[in-house]
Subunit: 308 residues, 4 copies
């Protein structure tokens, strides 16, 4: 049932976590992943079955060009023309890529509005040299903890939701109920919209990037109430696009990243994991998804593991 | 006591794992990390204390230039010049880097000799497009399992070993005994030489890359006998340099990667972990170090987590 | 009138310049630009009017992604965060780009067939390290000489020719006659199809790259008979696409580059120059278009000047 | 004889060309290269002898790493793994490079002080997106005109001047007299210090970049009085380093680029040209050195031609 969509700035003010972990905090909601929760989460790796949630990094990815391109990996050495002692020959490669072109974290310097970043830092602190505050390297010790998958596509009985379809608190509650799982403090919550399947089926970056199903603004309250640490999805921006307000853009990004200090995980591949969870009915797992430690970086490519 | 250094080609033939996991295998010794071992390893995360073993990716890294450079991260957006609906502003960044310039895996297509790669693949299968076989993406579901740290610098009572100092089976045995830990099948073995501390102390890439302390050839037998899955170190090539035979180069690379099919982890930062292990006397932990899924890639940057 | 389209391999054998400038030659038809011809050409700069024939290097270029992308220029310094003696501040930038993504030369290592390059060099001499022979750096002292524009779009009275439209010897002769100009030895011949105007009008890289009007195979004989040194165009491959033979690809490239040893200039902007030539009736000029000296490079971005 | 070194800010105020070519000008002193001067200059190409003044773009260049690296060119295609209709095979390459890592222009957005760029533009107009004003693309129709070489190393009878050696007005006058050449309005003036020979002899980027001989501050008056359009050199910053005032940095850059609006050409190879000029006694020539049209770029790599 269509509820009133919250005003973004009011919602941001309501859910703002600035100062919650101190005035100098640069980590935001990953502070919620306490050692106790990590230890408890590790015990969810019961059978040692591993799922890799990253998508391949190559030229066949979802970027249509423009602001971001797919990673370009080029060989610098392949053994040709090498004459080295003892017959040793070697291969090596380089990559040029946006840090947010494939499976990735959006760090806390990624989004700003009204001249501020998370924890009240000035927007101008993001310079040509990178993030003066809230750089992705502050997440270096993470992100590992309890993961929960909510399979909204399965809940709705579709291969994938359509672009513009809003996922709201009711959907999240319904998925929890249907799956028999609860979402709690410090969790890494993964939302499956089926959009990865759409891409794998259609292989059309332009179509894939036109819009997407995803979380609506109201869901921010739901995440905040449960103290979720990280939210990830198989779409490219976690949130629904086009958004719920005409004339606005990435409003959930603004509330989650800038106000709540929440790291997002995007462009994940949840297909194999979802299949397995549907099979055994277990939708929780140990999530281990460390970012690369790009000093002052805005984001990081990732290949998170889910261990059941 | 100085033993005779094995002949590299004889040693390679002796320890060769080709065919052991089937003629089509492209993963090598990470096959040893079975689900059972993963599940058991996860239980080592007892307190949820997390150590990040990756070094920072920035311009102050250990690469002196030449074949490899330090990562160059550049901003494409920082909010400047953006006029977007609703006040949304964003930052984004790109990186250009060798896949093996910071903490990294050496994949199984990284080294060849006598015209062959691991599992008998032809050297020519590594083309300008990348690894035809043994690409790093085949390690996508890993590398997670039981980690063991052997702190050789501590064993010898030095800040760091000197370039050219060989770490042999006796050292490994002595470290196991001193630390009260055993190394077994499927383990990810991390060798601390102290060379990261050397770099952090001296901040001199040219000096750092001149040579290094590390494993000698004989240690390959030790690793093979215990069915170690992955060996990593805080130096840049795992093995001792200059090597044990004049007129030879990277002989242990050739045996480990090409013959045994072992993935290596290099340029790790083991300082904080080692300090902690010395404190509580526990040298085993859960290691979660997924590579990025570079299709046909030779290596991957990593930031492995050690969880105790 | 439709003539029979020559067989590519027969035509290549007929027009082959291998050995013409010695067995070790790596420059091909630019050998035809003798000092005397350069000096004579310089006198064509009568009024000092300068036309820049390069297209802009930025994200709005004609590359749709895939094998080639538009240049990505990123700032490394813009004065932010600099505190330097005396108040000095500076800006700096990097580029990542295919060497053939904008106005460019195709060097003589760009095309191969039947295992050979220009002058009989083995195809395998182009390795992961670049051109073993015929690298673009061999054109370092050029390319400067007499330029001639043949404006085929104007001849046909259209804004631009359509993709697949063949430009043949009759068109070239007709343009020479209509324009009152002759094409001779050592000339840099520029063919205007209007396709740059098409791109500027439509701004659609995908459409632009689908095909193009251009020279047909028979024109190779015409160029060879006149000892043209370099042929350039405002399309992206000089030659007509789709080509004249079903089941073949870039046949004129194969004859011109591999057999004749001719450097091509592509993706030029001839609009302003053509307008001026139509105004004063003078279709010859001094052309100065040096490549960058990429050692072992396959091509080079260029911004050639036409001076009248 | 040691004269008093001018105060930089006073000198800048004295020689400032802001507004000289209109309030909206973004080209600076290249406005002095009028069509008449271009036409006259072209007649200096008397014998058609061509000299290429660019240095090679490859990994053996003068950049020691840090702020700038040598160009990294990598192959994306070399014919391997291609199965294309008609036997066509092709090679292609990419480059990643600072725009000012080899022979280059410093554009007019390269240097700022006291919050302003050339022609009074605000320093803040150079953003993460590039030059808001004075971008290198504004030099697209150039730089071609009369070139004059002043061979100071030859004048002093040395292979190369030492780092820190100042070239002053007296040296420039003496070189003009010794060579029988005059420098006038719109000229592209090339200063040979021999520092390219030093690099070619020593092949030591760190040593090469430690300092350099070059123009002193007083020379700015000399250049201004003669309305020189562009000054270039075989060193890496045109000016003497360390500079003439303690506690100051790149003062001549500030005066020439920011106040006078002069484009600089750096890291040229003047060896072959100088040898020829010494042989025939002719030190003037036609200079054709177009920059690549990087939209909003700070600089551009170049390979200028000198034609005699």
């Amino acid at each position: 049932m269509a509820e009133t969509v919250p005003d973004m700035r009011e919602l941001g003010a309501e859910l703002r976590n600035w100062g919650r972990w101190g005035p100098g905090d640069e980590r935001g909601t990953t502070n919620l992943i306490t050692p106790e929760r990590v230890a408890a989460a590790a015990r969810l790796a019961r059978t040692g079955t591993v799922f890799d949630l990253g998508i391949p990094l190559d030229g066949d990815g979802p970027q249509p060009g423009g602001a971001r391109i797919n990673p370009i990996r080029l060989m610098s050495e392949n053994g040709q023309e090498q004459v080295l002692p003892g017959g040793f020959r070697w291969a090596d490669d380089y990559v040029f890529m946006p840090l947010q072109s494939a499976s990735q974290y959006d760090g806390l310097a990624h989004v700003m509005y009204d001249e501020q970043l998370y924890n009240g830092r000035p927007a101008g602190s993001v310079t040509v040299k990178g993030a003066g505050y809230n750089g992705i390297h502050h997440q270096a010790k993470g992100i590992a903890g309890r993961g929960v998958l909510l399979d909204i596509a399965r809940l709705r009985g579709v291969d994938w939701l359509a672009a513009g379809e809003v996922i709201g608190p009711d959907d999240l509650d319904a998925a929890c109920a249907a799956q028999g799982v609860e979402v709690g403090p410090g969790d890494i919550l993964l939302i499956r919209t089926g959009y990865r399947k759409k891409f794998l089926t259609e292989r059309d970056p332009v179509e894939f990037m036109k819009g997407e199903p995803g979380l609506g603004l109201e869901s921010a309250r739901w995440l905040h109430a449960r103290d979720v640490a990280v939210v990830g999805s198989d779409n490219w921006a976690v949130e629904v696009l086009p958004g719920e307000h005409d004339g606005a853009l990435f409003e959930l990004h603004m509330v989650l990243i800038r106000d709540m200090g929440m790291t997002l995980a995007e462009l994940l591949d949840l297909e194999e994991l979802a299949e397995h969870c549907a099979g055994d009915g277990v939708y929780e797992f140990f999530y281990a998804g460390p970012p690369l430690k790009f000093t002052r970086g805005i984001g990081s490519p990732i290949n998170p593991l889910a261990l059941k």
